[in-house]
């Protein structure tokens, strides 16, 4: 089993996540898409850890930290979503335009 197939899987998963993050209207789906991209990164980390010679556990440690950060991100993201929803009564990306000119 080689390294490249895993990296390729990561690329595809990343691409899917990127596509979703840039096109989906629902904020929650956008958040989900970002999770996909993070997962793709994790696959890379673990794959590199596995295929190093000798195998390095640090890649897994890093992936673990990345998961924790992702969890925190989801919590804060959803909190922001709820606050936004309460204000604008919408969960649509189109309505998130507070930062425009």
């Amino acid at each position: 089993m080689a390294l490249q197939p895993f990296l390729a899987l990561g690329v595809v998963l990343f691409g899917l996540g990127l596509f979703g993050a840039l096109t989906k209207r629902n904020i929650i789906i956008v958040l989900i898409s970002i999770e996909l991209m993070l997962n793709a990164a994790n696959i890379n980390l673990v794959a590199f850890a596995h295929f190093s010679q000798p195998a390095q556990i640090q890649g897994q440690v890093y992936a673990l930290f990345s998961m924790a950060i992702a969890a925190a991100e989801v919590a804060v993201g959803l909190a922001i979503l709820l606050a936004f929803f309460r204000h604008r009564n919408s969960a649509d990306m189109k309505d998130v335009d507070l930062m425009k000119w």
Binding site: M1, A2, Q4, P5, A8, L9, V11, V12, L13, F14, G15, L16, L18, F19, G20, L22, T23, K24, R25, N26, I28, I29, I32, E35, L36, N39, N42, I43, V46, A49, H50, F51, Q53, P54, A55, I57, Q60, V61, A63, L64, F65, M67, A68, I69, A70, A71, A72, V74, A75, V76, L78, A79, L82, A83, F85, R86, N89, A91, D92, K94
Partner: protein, 175 residues
Amino acid sequence: MIFGIPITGQTITYFLLALIIMISGVMLMSLQKVMHMAVALGGVFLGVAGIFILLGADFLGMAQILIYAGAITILMVFALMLTQRGDDTESPPTNSWRVGGVLVFVVVLCAAFLYVLRGTAWPVTQSAVDPYTQPSVVLLAQSIFHTYTVPFELVSVLLTVALVGAVVIARKEEE
């Protein structure tokens, strides 16, 4: 041998998992009902967990199942239900040329990455059958609680802060 890859149990598992991940992913992007999307999401996460286990990261695989497939998916479902208004379908993107454009760009990007992936001479491409001398959980524990104690503690602080912050942000504002 298929595409120059020897057919072993590992390879078959990999292809199965990759298939699950990609099908779930594509479904996630194309389904209309948000609840169905959540199920597809679970599929992706489970597939990734399988990949982790395949790569010898047992602990990470389990954590993936618990955190992503379990907690985060459920959290997303809750959020979806909280913000639902009548119809629970994802409203289509306003302009379809934009979807097409993004698709093209993403595909090109992925193609570029894959091209680079192929063209790069990776220092190590093959691994031993059992690369880790000890069970990976043991190694992971030693790493986290010994070498990376401080970052680990910082992460717990970060999680606490994120928790408190989330509560503060999501709380109903008092009139």
